[in-house]
Amino acid sequence: MSEDARSYTNVKWRVYRRIRTDLIAKLGAVIVVFSIAMAAFSIVDDFLLSELVIETLLHDPYELNPNNRLAEPSLAHPFGTDEQGRDILARVIYGTRTSIIVGVGSVLFAAIIGVSLGIVTAYYGGLVDNVGMRAMDVLLAFPAILLAIALLASLGRGFTSIIIALGVAYVPSFARVTRSKALSVKSDEYVTAAEVMGYPTRDVLVDEILPNCFTPIIVQGTFTLAVAIIAEAGLSFLGLGVNPPTPTWGIMLSGAQQYITTAWWYSLFPGLAIMVTVLGFNLLGDSIRDALDPQSGGEERRL
């Protein structure tokens, strides 16, 4: 047991040290913390304070202002206004929460199912392994975004649907990563020791094997978050994401498409928000991977 605890704190410490010393890692961490803070702010401000803070500092992100349609960026509206006269900066800030909630939600969904599957298939091997991995092959026969689109066709729109759709699409990557790590972990001495001591299989899986698979799972999770945020924006852009009154970067961009010739700011800023957020997660992912796995100089594990 102490072995698990030590390797886990060690992991945290190595990531922490990396973030303290490496400028790139620091930038990634700052962006990630900032976007999570923005998401938290918009949730509190919207549902508890009914837009009080954002209205005082900027504008109400929902308020229609027909007299001020597609206004260029100015001091009053740093990012300009959209076709309904709404402040784009305020909407970009409020849009953060959709990206973060869907990103974190779908990654958690995929990780819980994928990691369980990976550990079980690796531990039991044989038929269980074969069936489990064939099932993953089937999911991998579809490009992730297309699988999500197909699932949304029957699930309909909304937060839950999109989290499930993207979650299912990302299950195989977590299953594969966990399985290959668990395969090497399961023959380690402490696992054999736990088995010999007669621990129930469930405890062996959860207490012995799982904690030692954390490293690749965390790396996979960070990168998948980046991919999921892009995917959510894409699905919202297509009109398959969350429902319209909710501010989201993807829906803003699909609105902006119509006014591309007249209002450059409308398509620039929401996209910039996506890019910066995703960049943050990618930078953090790179740094975590480098910190935890110094011997892998190459980037062949990116996929």
Binding site: A141, L146, A150, L152, A233, L240, M275
Partner: protein, 321 residues
């Protein structure tokens, strides 16, 4: 050669259960729709007779197993039934749209390969220098940029001021080669950039790994020209694994095409699928889903074959993975 053949046969046999599984997933799209799909398609105000009629047409009155067997039997012959919206044969609709998506995806792949090779190689050869930093930053930005936003930016910067690039639609190579190039270039860049960035990172990392290998030191010790070692041996060995990834990326390209087609108004299968989803046109959705799965699996088979041809370790190694 017989070993290669056996390897290929093994891969082919792997594809059959995968595609059968994919057909189950595709079939389930309609089954998973909550409530009665026929009612879902027709809406609340439709009469009970109309709903019953549609249920009969979709085969929903039969046991689910019979429905599935029926679906697979027809799908295997390339028959996905008729569109509920237009009454057209789904297969005919697909065939009409495939050239657009194919042209876009191939162009996107071309851009990814053409950009990533020099950039990745320069990054590896000039490791730690300014050129390397530039290529790494570029690659990071590339994987962080959503393709549809890049598409919008390209329209904003190039297509709006320059008349040479159309904002909407795409011309096929077979119709007008020059118009095809100008109308495909921007969407292909939008689609290919993320893939180019991924390939760049992969190739750079692969080459740096290869340079640590013993044979590189040996070659240097023998006095073989450093350039020759880098550009012939190291590059060749680093490119091989990249080829497998290109196969996997084809999936990402097809998925990306769905979104990019929407940005540039390209009448490909992605646009067809999105329209079908809004119209609840399940046969069309199933047709597109199955077509993409078959293409993707076939492409990966092809890549495996190519890989086995190029790398003797695979075909002589016996078991896969």
């Amino acid at each position: 050669m017989s070993r290669l053949l056996r390897y290929l046969l093994g891969r082919l046999l792997w594809a059959i259960p995968v595609l059968l599984g994919a057909s189950v997933v595709t079939f389930m799209i309609m089954q998973l729709t909550p409530g009665d799909p026929a009612r879902f398609i027709l809406g609340q105000r439709a009469s009970q007779e109309a709903v019953m009629e549609l249920r009969r047409e979709l085969g929903l009155h039969q046991p689910i197993f019979v429905q599935y067997v029926d679906f697979v039997f027809h799908a295997a012959q390339g028959d996905f039934g008729q569109s509920l919206q237009t009454r057209e044969e789904v297969t005919a609709m697909l065939l009409q749209r495939i050239p657009y998506t194919a042209q876009l995806s191939i162009a996107g792949l071309l851009i990814a390969v053409v950009v990533s090779f020099p950039v990745g190689v320069i990054g590896a050869v000039r490791e730690g220098e300014a050129a390397d930093h530039a290529s790494r930053v570029g690659a990071l930005l590339g994987i962080s940029t959503p393709n549809f936003w890049l598409g919008l930016l390209l329209i904003l910067v190039f297509a709006v001021p320059l008349e040479a690039f159309p904002i909407f639609g795409m011309t096929l190579v077979t119709e007008d080669p020059i118009a095809a190039v100008t109308s495909t270039l921007l969407p292909a860049i939008a689609l290919g950039t993320a893939q180019a960035a991924l390939l760049t990172r992969l190739l750079r990392g692969g080459m740096l790994d290869e340079m640590q290998e013993g044979y590189v030191r040996t070659a240097r010790a023998y006095g073989i020209d450093n350039r020759e070692t880098t550009y012939v041996y190291v590059l060749k060995n680093a490119v091989l694994p990249t080829i497998t990834v290109i196969g996997l990326q084809l999936g990402a390209l097809l998925g990306g095409a769905v979104i990019v087609e929407q940005v540039f108004g390209i009448p490909g299968i992605g646009r067809l699928a999105i329209q079908a989803i809004f119209n609840k046109d399940f046969p069309v959705i199933q047709g597109v889903t199955m077509l993409v799965a078959v293409t993707f699996v076939a492409a990966n088979l092809l890549v495996d074959v190519l890989y086995a041809q190029l790398d003797p370790r695979i075909r002589l190694g016996g078991s896969e993975r």
